[in-house]
Amino acid sequence: MSLQEFIQQLLNGLSLGSLYALVAIGYTMVYGILRLINFAHGDIFMVGAYIAFYLVGVFYLPWWLSLPLTLLLTAGVGVLIDRVAYRPLRNEPRISLLITAVGVSFLLENLGLVTVGARQKGFPVPGMMASPVRILGAQVGGVSIWVPLISLAFLLLLLWVIYRTKAGMAMRAVSRDIEATRLMGADVDRIIAFTFAIGSALAAAGGILWSFKYPQINPLMGIYPGWKAFTAAVVGGIGNPTGAMIGGVLIGLVEVLTVAFFPTLSGYRDAFVFSILILFLLLRPTGLLGEPLKEKV
């Protein structure tokens, strides 16, 4: 493999990984607070891509307006799902919550199939993303440069929200101890709704950038990116946003470079990621950055 090809693959892996990171944030924040694997998160990613598709491709809104609008609407979908399907089960066994999440995931996918149809739709990609860029002597698609940069901007914004704002402090408090936070007079349900909003907005951003990279969208597009992002969250240490970012980039690089070096294995790339997931659950369930969970009897 020449150096140029290697750089191309590296950037490709980096852009894929930063997308996984964006989606992984939503998994990890919800898990950190509710101990719930939000099965529907990958489908929220899909919803975000479709909202953007309709705003830009059908209503011809400019991107500077469509992007924030999409994030806002998708955040609303996330909050709605939490309000309707998850909040009534807060005090129930976690398995009930998980089953409901599986139901929500299937509902979103099938609503998508019914309303927008199973056919692939071509996503409107802005010119900036499509034009090639030269970097270090290698020619790469604009997406491979812009996607990691935009993702990084979102991730920095998120870190600022989590560690520098009052709402972020409330989120960290809830993930530490729900009851104690409630006793301090915080509105826990509102904080959880806010968490869902942020996670869903980032998933929407991921969905849009994903569709720049792979401009064919369909209602089942969220399933595999969702699972890989979840793997990223586990690898990074579930519950830890910084870990999710690192895990996302790692998974993206591993996936792309494996296929680049061993092209015959490309059919197995999904199995590969799930094997990483199972291995991590076994050998290091707390991930790279996670804190060990204490078991209460």
Binding site: R35, L36, I37, A85, P88, L89, E92, P93, R94, I95, S96, L98, I99, T100, V102, G103, V104, F106, L107, N110, L111, L113, V114, A118, W227, F230, V234, G267, Y268, D270, A271, F274, S275, L277, I278, L281, L282, P285, V297
Partner: protein
């Protein structure tokens, strides 16, 4: 009620069921036979899935993997050699399977081999996965199902990849086979649940730490439950292969697990009775819901049919059940002749087996 009466009643019930099947075998058209067969296969799959999920409380999401293993092994053993040559036209099938097949009358051997292979798969995934708890176990078993799916798609010399395998021979008297398997599964799982092994499983479900403190070997019990569940799941997969006569990886996606999950949740997690009843209800419901997908004419208003609407209704149903009716139809209770007897004589009080008064 004396236990000899109960045995008699059970036998009478079985005889009645077999009479019905005998009648159905000659009198029903292909569509109704298919619905009945599907119901029986769902019973096998759901009752075995309920053993690990409902009775032992270990939330597995991998039954689609077990069913896939069972279906592929059964098919590879029973598919005639000439058909094998026709199906694997891109790459030949691996050697011993290419040259030999079991005659059709040895189908029980093929089904058992499918079950055994699935049980082996369950054992292998159980070694790592059963060390995990709760949702981590769910994720690990889900990953297993997905890995099986990817393997089935890619190991072309064994599975023929995404094209699948077609031309699986029809079994005569398929209704007898499927319902026979359903009855055997229910009997086997019920006797397991009512043994000391089953009580240990329920103890694990209610409180793992307490069960361990009482001397229940956690890992061994969970493993046995998973292996038994995998075995019958494999049988269900093999039966499905005979019923639809074509298998491909896409028949065993997570969607299959989702279907089984709905069945056992609607029936009441932990209740074998519930799994049986809702397996039948679900099969019938799936057919009835074809209405929502067919075009509708309301005088001047014409609503075109939307395919996929059924799944929207079914997923919404699952969420609604979880939100408003979490106990499901049977809520962990089981059918028993005593209960029927008391209903019959209209005595006060209930003697339902309260197996799951409080579940966490």
């Amino acid at each position: 009620m004396k236990s000899i009466y109960k045995t008699g009643l059970t036998l009478a019930g079985l005889a009645l069921l077999f009479l019905l099947i005998g009648w159905a075998n000659g009198h029903l058209n292909e569509y109704y036979s298919r619905v009945l067969n599907t119901a029986a296969i769902y019973i096998v799959a759901a009752v075995s899935y309920n053993l690990i999920n409902g009775v032992a409380g270990q939330f597995s999401l991998g039954p689609n993997g077990f069913m896939a293993i069972g279906a592929y092994v059964t098919t590879l053993l029973i598919l005639p050699v000439s058909q094998k040559q026709a199906v694997w036209f891109l790459q030949p099938l691996v050697w011993p399977l290419r040259a030999y097949s079991l005659p059709l009358w040895l189908f029980p051997v093929a089904l058992l081999a499918g079950g055994a292979a699935a049980a082996l798969g369950a054992f292998l995934i159980g070694i790592p996965a059963l060390r995990l708890r709760g949702d981590y176990l769910a994720i690990a078993t889900f990953g297993f199902g997905e890995i099986i799916f990817v393997l089935a798609n890619n190991i072309i010399p064994l599975t023929n990849g995404p094209l699948g395998i077609k031309g699986i021979p029809n079994l005569p008297y398929l209704l007898w086979v499927t319902w026979g398997c359903a009855v055997l599964t229910v009997l086997a799982v019920t006797s397991l649940v009512n043994s000391s092994f089953g009580r240990a499983l329920k103890a694990i479900r209610e409180d793992e730490v307490a069960a361990e403190a009482m001397g229940v070997a956690l890992f061994r019990h969970k493993m046995l439950a998973l292996v038994v569940s995998g075995f019958f799941g494999g049988i269900a997969g093999g039966l499905l292969a005979f019923l639809v006569s074509t298998i491909s990886p896409s028949a065993f996606t997570f969607f299959m697990t989702f279907t089984l999950l709905i069945i056992i949740v609607l029936g009441g997690l932990g209740s074998t009775t519930g799994a049986v009843v809702t397996a039948v209800i679900y099969t019938v419901l799936q057919e009835l819901l074809r209405v929502v997908e067919s075009p509708l004419d309301l005088g001047p208003v014409h609503i075109p049919g939307i395919s996929g609407m059924r799944m929207v209704v079914i997923s919404a149903l699952l969420i609604a059940v979880m939100l408003f009716y979490r106990r499901g139809l049977f809520g962990g209770r089981e059918f028993s002749w005593d209960w029927l007897w008391q209903k019959w004589t209209k005595r006060k009080g209930t003697s339902w087996n309260q197996t799951a008064a409080s579940r966490s």
